[in-house]
């Protein structure tokens, strides 16, 4: 198959002790579970962005859809965010991760039926959890709003898929570990720990007082910096060398990134000025500031891999997505480092800057990287091309959308913080909120672009699936007719 360039360029071939498994066979083993994860991820992405638009419209007129308790801002907003994180990001990340693990290990995907069951359970948990939030059963903890009757399902669904991933890694034929496998293994293992800690100590057997907030911040930061960061970077370091057909500049820098991010990155996330013993936010700021080391290392390693080959960006849509993701990783990482400085955090604390920054990481980096990876993987799983016009539309809609969103809310957040901290100029709090409205309304345009992009994304995936199943159906029909003629 032309679709399967050699893996030698990114991992040293140790010789053929075992009978080789071809890429086509590996893709065949991945087909059902990985496609299921991708399609559900795309569906949740669209659901999430529609809920997000409803939330965003409230800033144009507070009376829009106000009579329906299910659609009040405080319910629609977390439902949209949970759909993006748990519906899309984790499912897409797991799908890409499983595919990358089986290909790097040159082994078929293990326990595919278990993954399918896990994915179905996960979507069941997501559906129940989303209804729970909309019906007012939210736990009250940001990023963990889904009620306990949903979070339990999600946890076991994740364990099922994670187990299959670890078994796939264990049964690999290529023993040498590539950096993406390190990152994926850590991410797969990390989530159940933080999720169970947070669920146990916040929902099932709650700790008292401000400990709840500390644990929630710790969880949010670890989910973002570690899970999304590691999974996204695993894709960055796998697909960029693969597509430009040249090895990663330095494997050792990759390992350096792994350790520094694991050690510094997991400490961030607790805002300065919180009503906590002062050592906690102080330590957190130090951790966040030190993530400048892995962020710069990512920039260096990706650039050095690319250098001289940037022209290849024009010939590959997946590469465009993933390169944009890497750029967003570095930029958002640097912004995160800036935000750990006390004078900066004083301005942006409690403003729209924080959601803009989070969106930059979650969407600009992670989602864009996943889109690229999915557009690389799906044609290989189905041995059919996705409409290239569709992919191009998705790319530009997503790119423009996320830029409008992040820039308008980022600038609006700085403006808001400046006004908020100047009570002499704006004694009336309404002045503070009203100063942000133009930016908020601009961000709705970004939401619209993003949502349109998600519609195109889902159509692209469903489109290729329909074409392939139609083609195989008509092949079967032709074969049938031939058999009849012969009879």
């Amino acid at each position: 198959m032309s679709a399967t360039p050699s893996t030698q360029i990114i991992s040293i071939d140790r010789g053929n002790e075992a009978p080789a498994v071809t890429s086509v066979q590996i893709d065949a083993s991945c087909r059902a579970p990985v496609l299921l994860l991708f399609i559900s991820a795309a569906a949740w992405l669209l659901i999430g962005s529609l809920l997000g638009i409803i939330a965003s419209l409230k800033f144009h007129s507070p009376n829009i859809l106000a009579s329906c308790p299910l659609l009040t801002y405080g319910r629609v907003h977390p439902a949209a965010w949970n759909a993006l994180i748990y519906g899309f990001a984790i499912q897409a990340g797991l799908g890409v991760g499983l595919w990358v693990l089986s290909h790097l290990g040159r082994a078929k995907l293990a326990m595919a039926p278990l993954i399918v069951i896990g994915a179905i359970l996960w979507n069941l948990g997501m559906t129940i959890g989303t209804y729970g939030i909309l019906y007012g059963d939210s736990t009250g903890f940001e990023w963990l709003e889904m009620p306990r009757y949903a979070s339990g399902i999600l946890f076991f669904a994740y364990l099922a898929i994670g187990l299959a991933a670890i078994v796939t890694l264990h049964l690999r034929r290529e023993r040498e570990l590539y950096i993406s496998q390190w990152l994926l293994l850590a991410a797969i293992f990390w989530l159940p720990w933080i999720y169970s800690t947070a669920q146990l100590l916040l929902v099932f057997k709650p700790v008292r007082g401000v400990m709840q907030a500390i644990i929630d911040w710790w969880y949010i930061n670890n989910l973002t910096t570690i899970w999304l960061g590691f999974t996204g970077l695993a894709a960055t370091f796998y697909f960029i060398p693969k597509i430009i057909n040249r090895p990663l500049y330095s494997h050792y820098i990759g390992i350096f990134i792994f350790w520094t991010l694991a050690i510094f990155g997991s400490w961030g996330g607790i805002p300065t000025g919180s009503p906590l013993p002062t050592w906690i936010p102080a330590l957190s700021s130090v951790g966040a500031a030190l993530t400048i080391v892995p962020v710069l290392a990512v920039a260096f390693n990706v650039h050095k891999t690319f250098v001289g080959n940037y022209s290849k960006l024009s010939s590959s849509m997946p590469l465009k997505f993933i390169a944009f993701g890497a750029l967003a990783y570095v930029l958002s990482g640097l912004v995160g480092v800036l935000a750990s400085i006390v004078q900066v955090s004083e301005v942006i604390n409690f403003t729209w800057f924080t959601p803009a920054q989070t969106q930059f990481v979650v969407y600009g980096f992670f989602a864009m990287t996943m889109f690229g990876a999915i557009y690389y993987i799906v044609p290989r799983l189905l041995q059919a091309d996705i409409s290239s016009a569709g992919v191009r539309w998705h790319f530009w809609l997503a790119l423009i959308g996320v830029l409008i969103y992040v820039v308008s809310l980022g600038v609006g957040g700085v403006e808001q913080g400046t006004v908020l901290n100047n009570p002499k100029a704006t004694a009336d709090f309404m002045g503070v909120t009203n100063s942000t409205l133009p930016f908020l309304r601009a961000s709705t345009t970004g939401d619209l672009f993003i949502a349109l992009g998600h519609l195109v994304f889902l159509l692209n995936l469903v489109g290729v699936l329909v074409r392939v199943s139609r083609a195989s159906f008509s092949t079967a029909m032709v074969a049938n007719r031939r058999a009849e003629v012969r009879a």
């Binding site: 507070p62 023993r175 644990i215 400490w267």
Partner: protein, 244 residues
């Protein structure tokens, strides 16, 4: 070379450090926190909120009020919450961990689309205003972007000649022959809001020294269940002792 177990162990320890640092150690430090007895009044601070305020907290959580309203007064010199008059304790001092001992869940909030509510029970101790504001925010705060929470209210038809009940809202645009009355959720939510106050002078929040005399003479703060008089200047900050 099989590095799998090494990666696994390394990950385990790397994660374990932040788990130790931000889950275990703070818990060991903070789990000893107890309500403290305030010298001046002999009451415990914070006090466990009453049943109705507790139910209101559930309404606050269910409707996600904390996505727009913070409940945290930042210290002087970091932002200007104190200057905005959001602080309790005579409007002078920031929130501290002690204030949240009975909050469940703790809803600091992460954004200030609306104003901070830490001391809303002190700043706006007017239940009728709060109800009206929930029903139609713009009727009392003209430029507000807060959505109305009409689903927490009931539109009741009046019988011929029947007068509106005492709890009927005084709002415009009510059709003749009808009254707007708060449902249970609205009443409990307002009870919760009215009970929000962090005003006890604690060991960790001594009032600024030059303000003590002024605060004592006006006898402020004057609202809330566990109000205590500010300590006399001679007592210094250590006016409370742990209850246990």
């Amino acid at each position: 070379m099989n590095l799998g177990p090494l990666v696994f162990l390394g990950t385990f320890f790397a994660l374990a450090t932040s788990w130790l640092g931000f889950v275990l150690v703070p818990q060991l430090q903070l789990c000893r926190q107890q309500p403290v007895e305030i010298d001046a009044t002999g009451q415990l601070y914070p006090s466990d909120p009453s049943g109705i305020a507790k139910q209101g907290e559930e309404v606050y959580r269910a409707n996600g009020c904390y996505y727009c309203h913070s409940q945290q007064v930042r210290p002087k010199g970091f932002g200007s919450d104190v200057e905005r008059g959001w602080g309790g304790r005579g409007g002078k001092v920031q929130s501290v961990a002690q204030d949240y001992l009975y909050a469940r869940p703790v809803m600091f909030g992460s954004q200030r689309i609306g104003p901070d509510l830490t001391n809303i029970g002190l700043r706006k101790p007017d239940a009728a205003w709060q109800l009206k504001h929930l029903y139609d925010p713009q009727s009392v705060t003209p430029k507000s972007v807060m959505p109305p929470y009409r689903y927490l209210f009931e539109k009741r038809k009046l019988k011929l000649g029947q007068k509106p009940s005492e709890e009927a809202l005084q709002v415009a645009n009510v059709p003749a022959g009808y009254e707007i009355v708060p449902k249970e959720e609205a009443k409990t939510l307002v009870a919760y809001l009215m009970n929000l106050h962090s005003d006890a002078i604690l060991f960790e929040t001594p009032p600024p020294t030059n303000a003590v005399a002024a605060a004592s003479s006006t006898n402020a703060p004057a609202a809330g269940g566990s109000t205590n008089n500010p300590p006399a200047a001679t007592n210094g900050p250590s006016t409370n002792v742990p209850a246990k």
